[in-house]
Symmetry: C2
Subunit: 400 residues, 2 copies
Amino acid sequence: MTWLDLPADTLFGLDNLPYGVFSHGERTRRAGVAVGEQVLDLTAAAEGESFGRLLTAGVLNPLLADGPDTWAEVRARVREWLSEPRHADRIRPHLVPHNEITSHLPIEVADYVDFYSSEQHAINASRIFTGGDDLVPVNWKHLPIGYHGRAGTVVASGTPVVRPAGQRKPRRAEKPSFGAAKRLDFEAEVGFVVGAPSELGAPVPIDEFPRHVFGVCLVNDWSARDLQGWESQPLGPFLGKSFATSMSPWLVPLAALEHARVPQPAQDPEPFEYLRAAEPWSLDLALEIRINGHLVSSPPFATQYWTGAQQLAHLTVNGASLRTGDLYASGTVTGPAKNQRGSLLELSWGGREPLALGPGETRAFLEDGDEVVISASAPGPGGARIGFGEVRGTVAPAVV
Amino acid sequence: MTWLDLPADTLFGLDNLPYGVFSHGERTRRAGVAVGEQVLDLTAAAEGESFGRLLTAGVLNPLLADGPDTWAEVRARVREWLSEPRHADRIRPHLVPHNEITSHLPIEVADYVDFYSSEQHAINASRIFTGGDDLVPVNWKHLPIGYHGRAGTVVASGTPVVRPAGQRKPRRAEKPSFGAAKRLDFEAEVGFVVGAPSELGAPVPIDEFPRHVFGVCLVNDWSARDLQGWESQPLGPFLGKSFATSMSPWLVPLAALEHARVPQPAQDPEPFEYLRAAEPWSLDLALEIRINGHLVSSPPFATQYWTGAQQLAHLTVNGASLRTGDLYASGTVTGPAKNQRGSLLELSWGGREPLALGPGETRAFLEDGDEVVISASAPGPGGARIGFGEVRGTVAPAVV
């Protein structure tokens, strides 16, 4: 029920209402809410509201920091404005066509953590790199493996991704060489954004997940496989990942994902108590990956072994504190089928089976000018779907 | 030459003048400069100066962001104030005894990177974990290995370090267990703080090091060896490090370290061009590590294989951008002698040869209540020494 003229099959109905930051014309960066094919200028619409002061920073961090009661209040108010005809005259001037805006990074990123939580992705990586071995690492089913990435190079969707240079050593080469990466890849991931911070020394219990995590977005964890392969022992990925990580513009609040929650895949062995949740937090997101417009994969997020709630509990179990704007990503989302793989590494099986893109066109790894678009949607109430929009990036040539 | 009454052997003479952030009495956090046994309230002293606006944030980031010309201007002005008697009456009221202040984290940390650049430390780690093998990893002499750490848990010197809980699996155990870390350790490191940012996609040439790095501090990269051992394959350290990293309060500007610059140890093989500097940036810092007041080690920073300039060039060669407040640490500083080891892991040889602390007192790893203090000094002009102060932390019991 809304006074807006929304298409029946919109992915951005009143049950979604994701938050972002945009600019329009001459105006400064403002908070927005996507609805149908428009964007509500939330910063303008909220003037005079008690929460209006949280929406003037040009990033969503102050809103996120204010915690779950405020998130619920703002969401309820926005729904009310867009539902009840008595608000229509005041709100209508604050709606801007989506195709007229420029989207920006929705948050100032505090720390960025990347996990490795798809079992099929871990199996594929093991098979590609060691040949034929289906085993995941010995610790893999005991804890969600993760590492810190570079927060300062998390970029807005649409930012060109410059092909990185660096050292690499092909397996048969005697010495390393230096130059532009030859094995540039994407990784389709789901990101979780922390709103409410936590205290140093105090682990966050798993069931507190929805009190700390504000919402969900899409992440492309660009990866230079040749740089990564040479540098990663013994301390993990560094320059092979740190040149860019793209983030989608719209944060879908957890409150919009109630209908997307599904039971978690069985876990054997049973995880330690701090990783056992009272409520399921697997999310039935359907991802799609397109290269230059061709649909190349449709990874199912519900198949992930470790959930966002487990990742949060693990991340803090050692007493590490959370800050507003912390972003942590699921790791590459890969399902069991061939057309559910979340990276080109897997889709081209280490480059050995180049992927067909179109007539006469194949890819082992990304070429300059290639555009990668990752999108997703999830079940909403009454058969509706909740859209995540997309994270988009085009490969620019190396500068060396 | 100064109107101040400075002890002849002070580590904080006019050739040092390190910057920090402190509070005193009821006043808010302010920028300070350590001189002798006092601290100059720089925020107050600089009122009316063009750079005064850079000193009111409660962190040094705005000063650092303004770049090397401003750093030189502020340093010259502070020296003038403390040298020329005509400034004495105005400046004297802004001097506070060092023992009356509370020091805070000097910067808001953007990204935190930890390197692994002491050859002797890498050799010791290899010998301790694999037994008798003197080889460093195959990539080690080609690039300064590093990884991202958690910026949000970089804490001020003096912050208690709560013993972390987590998963660990002793080598002979069949399954992992959960509990408080048993192998808690320190790592004595030297930190570099980035002032001037750089553009995404544009590597920073090695000789631009002093135009981007503002100064140097001391870092204790607390490590839970048992957590780290179980979690680190294949993506590197995570919870074994992310519970706390302590940073010393005073940033010694590069300009104060001209007399500490020494030729770099020979590098074989010759590194790639982006890692070759025109000027030497090895620094002759003498570190000292004390546990509960006992001097247990004196690591020499000049022996590091990779310099801070090489680390900066490597960190950005893939196009990763720098932000004001980026902190990168050298990795554990360990010299060739037994009493030059920078971690308890090495000093107790993996716990097998507990370290004598005092009569009847030994340590394999840190116990609750242990205090670790890392201090350092470097050569200054005319036989003077430049002090770094210290980074200090006491182990608090686990909360599990």
